[in-house]
């Protein structure tokens, strides 16, 4: 089991367990974490699973592809150097303890 820590948009801390192979988006949805809508179900088509990744872990993630980088332009005003779309990050043991801040979905 891998432990993931989410900070919901209102600041609530949620520590949840993740299964290997799930995406971080799926982990959040499975645990009812607020701030991840996941409109498109994980195909990098909506940018409603935007998170700011713990800088200690950010560099260890597989680099984002062009599609994800382009989709992040949709959340430009919330985007930071450590922004990622959570549907594009697969859980593995190396993510144990990662902290993700959720800026929230605007609708």
């Amino acid at each position: 089991m891998t432990t993931i820590v989410f900070f919901e948009p209102d600041g609530t801390r949620r520590e949840v367990e993740a299964n290997p192979g799930e995406s971080l988006m799926e982990v959040a949805v499975r645990h009812g974490v607020e701030g991840v809508d996941a409109d498109c179900g994980g195909v990098c088509a909506c940018a409603t699973c935007h998170g700011h990744i713990d800088p200690a872990f950010f560099g260890r993630l597989l680099a984002m592809n062009d599609t994800e980088d382009a989709m992040l332009e949709l959340v430009e005003d919330q985007r930071a150097a450590n922004s990622r779309l959570l549907c594009q990050i697969q859980v593995g043991p190396e993510l144990d303890g990662i902290v993700i801040k959720l800026p929230g979905v605007r609708r």
């Binding site: 949805v29 409109d39 498109c40 990098c44 599609t67 382009a70 989709m71 949709l74 609708r107």
Partner: protein
Amino acid sequence: MPHFDVLIVGGGQAGAYAAIQLRQQGFVGTVAIAGRENELPYERPPLSKEYLLGDKEWERLLIRPASFWQEKAIALLLGLEVTAVQPTARQVTMNDGSSLGYGKLIWATGGEPRRLACPGTDLKGVHVVRTRAHADAILGQLSDVSRAVIVGGGYIGLEAAAVLRKLGKEVTLLEALPRVLARVAGEDVSSFYEAEHRAQGVDLRTSAAISAVEGLDRVSGVRLADGSLIECQMVIVGIGIIPSVEPLLAAGIKGENGIEVDDFCRTSDENIYAIGDCAAQANRFAGGAVLRVESVQNANDQAACAVKAILGEAQSYAAIPWFWSNQYDLKLQTVGISSGYDAAILRGDCAARCFSVLYLKAGRLIAVDAINATRDYVQARKLIEEWAMIAPEDLVDTSRPLKDLPRL
């Protein structure tokens, strides 16, 4: 008789999202979802893509896990269909004879797949794709299928064709109109997808007229109007939906092709809202035309709109339509509504399989279809929202990002 402050009819994307939004916005009253399918709310788009391909197991389609609905005190009344509505009494009658009272009703029933109007459509092996049961029925038969006929060259039909080709089936796709995606995209996009499917081995035929589905007990072929027979063991029909709105129409709520709603997703009855595939609303991105938009985006955004109105914070619906379709290694992303365009501009190279088509009306950008061109899709979204006018000679210049192009 049980009473709910908000009763949501329909447990698909729109209904589920309305319930999620009610709780997210702090609504503390009682909430129930009455859903016809005996399933937790799930995502439908994968049914014609990853789920059909076997790439995504069922649990990963759930919009929220079972525990979520309990924790949020959202009652799921599954396997129940609303058969009648009594607006004055604020009650609904269910198919098991029971009744429910409501404070506000949110109608989110989506639609029924349209069936072919020819003999033989009730033979075994003739399928549609709308629900888990539909997809499972296809999956359950696939091992016995070597040849399939897909009827309809819309997104569902094309996606199903891509999946069946990947699974090694012989596929014929029949489209009644002269081109695929005719209702939703311009000619460049249609001809590109026709060529791609043919290159993948699909026998794709346009302007095809079907006279019958043939077989004794089980389908054995599709007969065309020219007399020819296409042998197959499976037929998948993807020719659109008919909105499920009879109980509301019978109750005198205004509507025809869908339930008419105002800018706040309210029907002609102030206590009844309609959202998602079954709601017909004036859309500012279609020049104010009243239309039904069948998409996850519209389901979610109309759900949020109805919830705001119910909570007394009404805001006019203004969400820009967007949609995606994945076929083979092609990622189509569309934003805006192209119908009514008077010019279509090709940006990029079709042969490179990375391009976009920009639709203009009176010089203003109204929609974009982007194929493996996410950056165009994203940047066009903002341009469409501001009705930008950009010179066509600039739009075709792929050396500059759309967002940097000068506005006229």
